[in-house]
Symmetry: D2
Subunit: 346 residues, 4 copies
């Protein structure tokens, strides 16, 4: 199967997850980019908007209707929330695999989804079928999926950080705390005042403390691992960098456990999760541009609070890279295919 | 007394707290800068090193011995840890008030200090006498002090954030969590690799999770307020901005309380603590260059975890500004004197 | 006259020049802020939008019609281009002095203005009357003006840098080059994609090489000094910082001159222009938040090309600070009144 | 020959050009990293210092003497100036090709080199033999070289920008101006105060206007192209970003020429020089992490001054990437081998 070329379409490629997908797919040895759609930019060469792609991506944005997406093997939705749910049905019926980088298929409880995303869901039956695709949790299910819900950026870093503790049942999972910090690209490429350089540079702030859409997504994933609902306080912060998420996680231990061994064993064999040696503090630049999550686990002053540090590039392991990883799984390719970029440091 | 001019000396003015002291004192209506010492830079005009002070500070750095510090009314130590403890005795004996911006007199338990600061304390008897000077806690004591231990930057933001909860006895103070983020100027002006622009920009990382010198300082202050020892997990992070600390604090409520009212009442009348309206998220730039701590208090999803957001400028309310505030108290001036700068935004 | 309180109105205070005006005027000893207008934000406390002003500015944005601007002594327009020209006439007729921080009254040749600003000028007769107010050039005229055209940010830094050479007639003024770099706040607080943090951080680019609105403004000022038209290539660049302009100016010497002496003599007595000693390179942070232009002049390798380095804070000496300086001149106050802030460094 | 594996050694791999070489060579299909030396870090795994290389580079730093460099096919010197000239002789005699990323072999006039680099040259005879290796100028010579002088970062961007004009003889080459802006990584990984984050962030400044080491290197390259000495004013600036150089070049036209066609023709067929369409302004992020120089050429207002914008990543096309490109040429590999990374945007 690895000889085969996968025909790829992208819906909505003018945002950051779109250009990142293009960067990765243009270097993927088994992909052929067939179409990338944008109503607004139809006709414009992609490389005119994103000059890093000059000489590497010759495609133009096309009208969705004319893109021939139904002839692709896989279509990525790099669109705002609420788009994929409109269009996935037809593609699935045409035999196309769908990978949604937005949130349309992430929350199994449609009522909760509608509450947090403030719209009516257009396609609840695909929610039921879709696979929430965190490969380190459920790659077997991903392999067979027709609709992939690619996890959110915060949820990827927080779940990978908490999972060993939850699965081992060694912490009070009714009182988990995730203090997460994101670079500004996490807010997307929309022109909004609060993410202007003059507003967001040299500044640090929390936001959404009262309630953030990623809270139910994380809680759902952790509850699945725990076998019961969990309690989670999730506080996101905006930090003045372009890429990167740093999740600092707190939980109270309920039994004695060798934390380092627990984490190393849980992620042994995982190509894209790196458990660092004891005493380390991963920095976000160590994953800049790379599809990897680096984790360190601490138990300060030997107390009963465990502190987990988990970093990803929000656009790679937190979005486009994980989407390509999921595509590789879907099509039976080695998981690392096209994902061997080394992080850019400095 | 406000007519009087205070004769001021500064020991060690080549770091960031030094230049910030100069910025504030040069605009203070009741101060006369008499001397600023630096062995290494003796003879150099201060404004040659810090060109923002051109035309505003005409002083040159002088040799400590020749500086005439003993004729000053007050001497600030803007030195590395371990300097003030060598020189404070002689100044105090000469009737000079001493304000140490470093850590020499902050920890009352000398053994703990020696463990964390890895040196022998040269002057334990002044530790016993010194006043840990957080004006919002103990301004009466400050007024009479001969030696002022100016609080650290992290400790100022964390204590001001936690104090209303601790004093009200409404949280489990055995399991406090302070997740704090600092701008890079907090590391000082020493040339060290990890705070180079090419290392620290566009990057985010935790550090010192295993143990940081500000942990015992914060724990001491909170224990004093609680009347008993407290449990505190303190996780500092380096964030790519120049100035600013954002402390995100977590505690579990043990009784029902009107949190907003609690905070507003606690800090009513405080010129330099601003409790923001419900639902707000203070950003660090809202205090950039200003001597103020802004605080917001949240109770996400109505659960039993309280989240406090507390921001300061680490060089102002976290260092030089608070030192001037303490000087104002010492000399009977209105506390706001010379401290009315408005934060620079954007 | 200095006892008098000046009644001040601001039209359009939701942008960066607006909040900067508020920061300065709130600290000005002879001003009373009477009104600040914003159609969109009418009723909102100014400090809700700009929390650095909490406790310092209690005003709310008001509807322009209800603001009572005609009862003010002076009205600042911190509006987009094209607004002041609509409203200045009525205010002038009511005896109010008008200071426009936008470009409506800067270009004396209305046809050129209309070409560059792509709209019809609503009030050409006030263009003829208005004073282009660079105090270091024409403070006598400013004193008597009814309408002040406050210079642009680039034009301030470039003109102050070139003027001594032009006035001395010692360079080929047919081939001047101004390579200018601006922080992102120069683009204003409008939500536009290219100034998002994720676009503008860690990036550097030129823009408008083919033609920028500040080119004719600068050329007009230099021509006035030269007594004849000048040739100017102006290349602006966007640099990833919040505030600051650094203009690097190049001109070919046509006669031998003591450049350092020329500059020092030209700006002797100027409170807000600082000619640095030979060999210096001013940095933008040395003027961050301060109303000052720092200049250094070089003659590399003793050749015939002079290189002038000129830095300002685009929001202060390049906008709001210069506007307050002009207000001080208009009302007979010492020019430094309310403008003694020291630059924030680091 | 492409089947062959090149045995590679690196001397001095603890700086930014070193880690960048490692990033590129670890992804190069025909290289085997045999040794990387550091006296200070001998024994430390490279990935402990640069965690982006975890799981990708298993090498440890080794003592130079024990490294077996003489058995390598090629040795890169990623050292400070003055090291390669001490060690190159022995390696060359052992049949090893030497690529120096520092400046030891760049300037053919040893007296000029000694003046600018303030040391005595240890190996003048290799200077005479060494090839200044800008592939777009002299790849035929590079192919046969035993010692490669890899061009400096500024010189690469400035020469590639000016060369078409110089070679065409269409500008006054006695009065060239290069206004260049560099990210902070250009200063290396040495701990120095002026490149601390708290000093260099949110700041912009010129430096070395009186004389910079890259001035004679650029002048030498342009003189070679012109066939006679050229006049060059070179003004470097420090800009608050990690990577990237933006050179803005000015020259006066002496004849009419189709500039766009001139540039496109000159660089037709060059894999690593991208002449952008008319009217473009390349940004540095469009080359971040990629081995490419993007150039745009402008003639503002149709005047006689040509403005060239030239951007590179100082660590890639300005250092490690160009070194790998030169290695590919030396060993007869396609020039793009291992250099197909797409720039990271955003």
């Amino acid at each position: 199967m690895t000889e085969r070329i996968i025909k790829v379409g992208i819906v909505g490629g003018t945002g950051y997850t779109g250009v990142e997908l293009l960067r990765l797919l243009a270097q993927h040895p088994h992909c052929e980019l067939r179409a990338i759609t944008s109503r607004k930019e139809a006709g414009t060469p992609v490389a005119d908007m994103f000059p890093n792609l000059r000489r590497r991506v010759s495609l133009r944005f096309s009208e969705p209707a004319a893109a021939g997406l139904e002839k692709c093997d896989v279509v990525f939705f790099a669109t705002p929330n609420g788009v994929a749910m409109q269009e996935a049905r037809a593609l699935v019926d045409a035999g196309v695999r769908v990978i949604d980088l937005a949130a349309d298929f992430r929350i199994r409880d449609v009522a909760v989804w509608e509450q947090y995303y403030k719209m009516k869901h257009a396609c609840p039956e695909l929610v039921a079928e879709a696979v929430y695709a965190l490969p380190e949790v459920n790659r077997a299910e991903i392999k067979k999926a027709r609709v992939i819900a690619n996890p959110g950026c915060y949820p990827t870093s927080v779940q990978l950080g908490f999972l060993p503790l939850i699965e081992a049942g060694c912490v009070d999972d009714g009182h988990l705390i995730a203090d997460a910090k994101s670079g500004v690209s996490g807010a997307g490429r929309k022109a909004e005042t609060h993410v202007l350089h003059a507003e967001a540079a040299d500044n640090f702030k929390a936001y959404g403390v009262g309630g953030h859409r990623h809270q139910p997504e994380i809680a759902q994933g952790l509850a699945r691992a725990a076998g019961h609902p969990v309690g989670l306080v999730f506080v996101p912060h905006l930090t003045p960098m372009i890429r990167g998420i740093h999740a600092t996680l707190y939980a109270r231990l309920t039994k004695t456990v060798d934390l380092q061994a627990l984490y190393e064993k849980r992620y042994a064999g995982e190509a894209f999760v790196d458990v660092m040696p004891p005493g380390n503090h991963p920095d976000t630049r160590s994953v800049r541009g790379a599809n990897i999550c680096r984790i360190a686990v601490h138990q300060p002053q030997g107390g009963d609070t465990v502190v987990v540090l988990s970093v990803i590039d929000n656009l790679v392991k937190g979005a486009a890279g994980q989407a390509v990883q999921n595509m590789n799984i879907l099509f039976g390719l080695p998981e690392e295919t096209g994902l061997t970029q080394i992080a850019l440091l400095p």
